[in-house]
Symmetry: C2
Subunit: 424 residues, 2 copies
């Protein structure tokens, strides 16, 4: 049987590795960062420009596309690649995470989840079978299993973020009395394994679309290992770590990934879902993760928050700030994105100067679209430059250069190298 | 004394002519269409892409830039070209039109106009001297006189558009009793001449910025001629027809322009302000107009209305319409814009397919920025293709080809050629 994807590891440095995944729509170098194109578009950016930032694979959200314009329509129009004019690899999530975190959840049971559409309030049903069918219709190269993704932190245990508030409210309305976080995690963990079996059985295109299993288990090592063993026992082209970055600290994320990633099959791509900041990505790459996605570059870009490698700005510039009103410098010196260096050969024949922080601030203050576009492109390039630097450091095993270039990430590298040192 | 611009007529066809204007920031071919970059940006579009649509000169609105970020700030940052990263020619209007049409007008007197800022309600003063000073600070290549622009149609005479409603309301609050439209037009006309003298006297950079005078006079030929004679008697590098497209019909616009344009100095550029649809532009070019600006391509683009040369769609496609939900065709076959033909050599190395009407409709329905971006680019290219076709027809005196390509404009061409025929 033909394989929908292939994966080759090129080099390793400790647990970190570089490699390449080939799909029927071309390949991508790993470790890879996937920009999020929620509704079949990376907000405000031409597909061509997304590619020019260095992105080789995109993520689309099944939840959003199934509600609008609908997966059958996209199938009729030739699939999601053709629909959105991106002929490179595409990965879709299963819709489960958004169903849990965004929707009013009506019911979760052993068969699946019912929730209200955010568009018109109608009731939508997602089961493992439906989630796979929808992804088969959308037609991406990599599809994700439909899993049960509970909050990683007990909603009663302290301050909550938006996801947890929603999930807590959902449970509150059903069965506030008697909610047992540990019991919920156990059920979710076991259900995720049963649902993966159903996903695999329902998958209609195993020759052309690679189904990835998702390892749940929260922040508890024992539960993670229990799940990892069972998920990875189901033969699939790739595996993901799910249920992180849903409310824990960076330290907790790193701890779980450090424990889990090296135990995942070495000859298959390892994907850490929904992560994250440069520090989280760097720690995860050093633990052996190959694929990432996150809304940070695009969402923060739309809000005038620009990522930089400059530790004096604490990593992010808030470009609405009045202190930038007369600032003629680009977002980040040395960056080759279309905002910072439009003349760079990477952007074609354009001979323009850098867009100044003063101008970008003006665009945001005036509510002009070009502001979000410029900072989104900068941030996308920032994340791809991080991946390029990480791949270079792994390939050359030269982490000193990486640490000099990105001093704020040096402690993360040092810690990983120390732990992985054979002499310790 | 060095001239801020030069103008050469290359060819004529009847009253129509092709030529080239050279400025200190490069030149542009005439007849020229100037996209509107209201707040120092053509909404959602990279300056590089605006240029690639064929635009060679942009218009910025003084009114918006003086309020935010302020002309002194832009001057401090090196002027509007550097600020917005457009190194080609730029024209600014005087701010007068927006002061009349957008703001709550507090007072108009012989010295100038006071109005409330749309941003914070503070009182702003515009006089001929201030309008020129602000444009001197902004630093465009062509600046416009501050004129008195009354409604062309008596607000009491029938249905009103937004501009006239505002102006009528303003007058109502001051002196509803005794408003005499004809008297108002007379005053405006005479005042416009007096204000132009003051503009010229106040102009600090006549070597580097070309001041254009504006001919007012409404739809009355006698009043137009009175104004034309006096305005063109003041020696300036160019002249404009103002006070059209403020509520009249297309026929009225064409009639006024046909009467006025040929009487304007032949060796200087003639600019018709705020016009318009392809039919209005074509009629005006055939009357001898060289320069145009209009918000139609950008504003309609943001609202999913795409211009096409296809008479079966009545010139515009409303791409939100459900009938486009499964339409795989591009906006317009044969168009080489980045939406219709991303692979065109004009757009660099991108090898993408056309964006389908179905996808563009999805983007608008989902509220995605890429929708307005794609249709704006298409419309900008549509207007530039019109100008290219007009220049080609004038240069070759071959209007048959033009009429076949744009059948809806054929009657306009026929009428102009008939009127200008020496044998008639």
């Amino acid at each position: 049987m033909p394989e929908p994807i292939s994966f080759t590891v090129h080099n390793t440095s400790g647990n970190a590795r570089t490699g390449r995944v080939e799909t029927l729509h071309g390949g991508f170098d790993t470790p890879a960062f996937m920009p999020v194109g929620t509704r079949g578009t990376v907000k405000g950016i031409f597909p061509h420009h997304v590619r020019t930032t260095g992105a080789q694979i995109l993520l689309n959200n099944t939840y959003h596309l199934m509600l609008r314009p609908g997966s059958k329509l996209i199938q009729e129009l030739g699939g999601v690649h053709k629909f959105m004019n991106w002929d490179g690899p595409i990965l879709t999530d299963s819709g489960g995470y958004q169903a849990y975190s965004m929707a009013d959840l009506n019911a979760i049971d052993e068969d699946g989840v019912s929730f209200k559409s955010i568009l018109d309030g109608s009731t939508i049903r997602l089961t493992p079978e439906i989630a796979i069918q929808v992804q088969n219709e959308l037609g991406p190269d990599i599809i994700m299993a439909f899993d049960d993704c509970p909050p990683s932190v007990d909603p009663d245990a302290g301050p909550t973020n938006q996801v947890r508030i929603k999930q807590a409210a959902m449970r509150d309305s059903k069965k506030k009395q008697g909610y047992d976080h540990n019991a919920r995690l156990e059920i979710a963990n076991e259900r995720t394994v049963r649902w993966l079996e159903r996903c695999k059985a329902a998958h209609a295109n195993p020759d052309t679309q690679a189904l990835f299993g998702i390892i749940q288990g929260g922040t508890d090592f024992e539960r993670r290992e229990w799940c990892l063993e069972r998920i990875c026992n189901i033969d699939l082209p790739g595996y993901a770590i799910g249920g992180v970055a849903v409310g824990e600290t960076s330290d907790d994320i790193a701890r779980v990934v450090r424990h889990t990633a090296p135990k995942m099959p070495a000859h298959k791509p390892r994907y850490l879902m929904g992560v994250g900041y440069d520090r989280d990505i760097t720690a995860a790459v050093l633990s052996g993760i190959d694929m990432f996605d996150c809304v940070l570059p695009t969402r923060n870009g739309r809000n005038a928050n620009a990522f930089t490698a400059d530790p004096t700005t604490d990593g992010q510039l808030r470009l609405r700030n009045a202190k930038f009103a007369k600032d003629e410098s680009p977002i980040e010196l040395g960056c080759d994105c279309p905002a910072c260096d439009p003349a760079s050969h990477a952007w074609g024949t354009y001979d323009g100067r850098p867009f100044s922080r003063a101008y970008i601030r003006h665009l945001f203050v005036a509510g002009e679209m070009l502001g979000p576009i410029l900072v989104t492109l900068h941030n996308l390039r920032f994340f791809q430059r991080l991946m390029e630097d990480l791949r270079h450091a792994i390939n050359t095993e030269e982490w000193g250069e990486f640490k000099i270039k990105r001093p704020s990430l040096a402690p993360i590298v040092d810690r990983a190298l120390l732990e992985q040192s054979p002499s310790v």
